[in-house]
């Protein structure tokens, strides 16, 4: 903590000289000066009748009321708004209403103005638009510049980023530049009804524990939010927002990193986080052929196939299909877990699924604790029967 005198407000009354327990304050040209001895006890801050002595602790506290509105930093992929942004808008709308403040979408990119309408229909009251050809997807530094400058100008109370790889690269730099707190990978956000602080809940200790984090004395409060956890609101056609253009001042030092090439052939693109139905397999599936069976079931359900870390480590699945703490977080309508024990690191990524079906030979498997429908049986007996049952038309069985 540091203590200083705001010269324009000091009238030279000398009250602080008597209050300071260690005699660290002297007068110079009619204005109080805090000397090197100061140990930041803060006694003078409270005693000054004119409020001319400031400390970073008191300043932070006094200032936080000046920060208003909830911001959602939109993320685009190939120029399109990502679904995680719509989820954030849904969550941000609730927070803004709880605060009685506005929800603002921050749209930054090369050419993004065409999305302003969609942001309005997704619940934004204001759309801050920042366009610049230096704002290239995947390059954090220009975005750090644009967003930090906007925050300093507009002073939001809350800034939310998606906890995507890009969001988790961008948000920490913004927080460091602003000197404020940042809570990583939140799965729950709320407003404390009394203090109006943002309650940021996230898994800790490998998902064994949940922790609720606050940043009581600094603003804005910043979080990255795990994709697939929050619910997007249905779009309200015709809903309007005020669109405000903000200047972007990208500097040469923001362009020290550039992308040479994207090698896409590595994974076949599956978007697990957006899947409605997921058929998932673990160690119990035993082989790549076992996963062939799950593929067949998935084909009938229009589902994506996913799995546990063990399934990925065994080479039965590519890493982009891993669900869990170190993989993807998903919340489909239906999650069918086959031969999965339900370790916390796995369930952390799929607990939000609406209906969970678990097929496991071990009645004590932890997956059953979070399942809606439990089948204690060999998956190699159930899945083929399931395929047969699904192939029959509705009503035939």
């Amino acid at each position: 903590m540091a203590v200083w005198v705001k010269k324009s407000e000091c009238v030279g009354c000398e009250t602080c000289l008597d209050v300071c327990p260690i005699g660290a304050i002297s007068m110079s040209e009619g204005i109080a000066v805090i000397g090197d001895k100061c140990n930041s006890c803060g006694a003078c801050v409270e005693s000054c009748p004119h409020g001319a002595i400031k400390s970073d602790a008191s300043d932070r506290k006094a200032d936080i009321s000046a920060f208003k509105d909830v911001w959602v930093v939109a993320e685009t992929r190939q120029g399109n708004i990502r679904s995680c942004t719509s989820e954030l808008m849904g969550c941000g709308r609730g927070l803004a209403d709880a605060l009685g403040q506005r929800l603002c979408a921050v749209l930054a990119g090369k050419e993004v103005s065409s999305h302003a309408g969609a942001m309005a229909e997704n619940g934004a009251d204001i759309v801050y638009l920042m366009e610049d050809k230096g704002l290239e997807e995947g390059l954090a530094l220009p975005y750090v510049r644009a967003i930090t400058d906007a925050v300093l100008e507009k002073r939001p109370a809350v800034v939310l980023f998606a906890a995507t790889p890009f969001g988790r690269e961008l948000a920490p730099r913004v927080s460091r530049r602003l000197g404020v707190g940042l809570t990583a990978d939140c799965t729950g956000l709320d407003i404390d009804p009394e203090t109006k602080n943002l309650l940021q809940t996230r898994p800790a200790w490998g998902g064994n524990l949940m922790a609720t984090i606050i940043s009581p004395d600094t603003r804005p409060q910043m979080s990255t939010v795990r994709p697939g956890v929050m619910k997007a609101l249905p779009a309200e056609p015709g809903r309007k927002a005020e669109v405000v253009q903000l200047k972007v001042n990208i500097k040469p030092e923001d362009q020290r990193l550039n992308i040479q090439e994207l090698k896409k052939e590595l994974y076949k693109h599956v978007n697990l986080t957006e899947a409605r139905v997921i058929v998932s397999g673990g160690h119990g599936v035993e082989s790549k052929d076992g996963f062939g069976l799950l593929e067949e079931l998935a084909g009938l359900l229009g589902a994506e196939v996913a799995g546990t870390r063990i399934a990925v480590e065994e080479g039965w699945l590519t890493p982009d299909r891993q669900v869990g703490q170190t993989g993807k977080s998903v919340c489909p309508e239906l999650y069918i877990a086959c031969g999965i024990s339900g370790a916390i690191q796995h369930s952390a990524g799929m607990m939000g699924s609406k209906t969970i079906v678990a097929i496991n030979t071990d009645p004590a498997a932890p997956i059953f604790a979070i399942a809606d429908i439990a089948i204690v049986e060999d998956l190699f007996k159930i899945v083929p029967e399931l395929i047969t049952a699904l192939k029959m038309k509705e009503g035939e069985n």
Binding site: T212, L301, A389
Partner: protein, 265 residues
């Protein structure tokens, strides 16, 4: 490129795969929990050593933590790191990522010229993956996050990083900060003579406090941390579970029925 000066950031963490939660109080049982070097950080050390072995230069490992964090620095020496700094001070306790990045950043600056800072992508105790980018921001240098391959090209850095749909080749100026994931390399084994030497009195491990790195107390530890943990709790689930019975074919048919009732298929 001449000789490289590389700093590696390493953290001592509890082995979270063995975490036990007290079922009554919902708190962490720290007793008997083993401390290890954060898994990603082994890959950070390996990446640094490989670059040094190719280009020459020096690798310095830095860790902030309690005095016993010296263990992970000894391990780093055992792998072949040249020298270590242990940042330990009562004033550093209770640091969140903002305060940690300030402390680590001040230390890097105090050590003078550098070409690269390499950190693990994320620590298994906090899982924030925030330290890398925050230290980079503090130092005012570019960052390559989730790198799996590093190469010095001319006077810059060429790196491959994982993206959501594949990998990307990126190019950066130096100095830069890089975080690496497990795909980056296979960490080398400890070399026993080096490890033995790391336990000697004259092992190159300097122990520094806040004054040694010129840190302002307002920026370190709990004081420098804007975030506070308000409460912790164990995740709970209160669902009504329906258990299906009968022959596999019966269960399969019932399941299809249930899923249709729930309108999920």
């Amino acid at each position: 490129m001449d000789k490289l000066d590389i700093k590696v950031l390493i953290k001592q963490v509890p082995n979270t795969s063995e975490v036990k939660i007290d079922p009554h109080t919902g708190t962490l049982m720290r007793e008997g929990m083993e401390s290890i070097i954060n898994p990603d950080d082994l890959h950070a050390i390996e990446a640094a050593l490989q670059l040094r072995d190719t280009h020459g230069g020096k690798v310095t490992a830095i860790s902030m933590g309690p005095p016993q964090a010296k263990d992970v620095l000894r391990e780093a020496l055992g792998m072949g790191v040249d020298e270590c700094i242990l940042l330990t001070d009562r004033a550093f306790a209770g640091a969140d990522t903002l305060a940690t990045s300030y402390t680590l950043g001040k230390c890097v600056l105090r050590l003078g010229r550098f070409d690269l800072v390499i950190a693990g992508h994320q620590a298994i105790d906090g899982d924030t993956a925030q330290i890398g980018p925050q230290v980079a921001e503090f130092l005012g240098i570019p960052q390559v996050i989730r790198a799996i391959r590093l190469e010095i090209r001319g006077d810059g850095l060429l790196a491959e990083r994982t993206a959501e749909e594949g990998t990307e080749i990126v190019k950066s100026t130096l100095p830069a900060l890089v975080t690496v994931t497990k795909e980056a390399n296979d960490p080398r084994y400890l070399f026993v003579p080096l490890l033995m030497a790391a336990f000697e009195e004259d092992a190159p491990i300097r122990v520094w406090g806040g004054n040694d790195i010129g840190a302002d107390e307002a920026g370190t530890g709990l004081k420098g941390s804007p975030t506070r943990v308000r409460r912790t709790f164990t995740p709970s689930h209160n669902k009504k579970i329906e258990r299906l019975n009968g022959m596999p074919a019966d269960m399969a048919r019932t399941l299809v029925e249930r899923l249709r009732e729930r309108k999920v298929i």
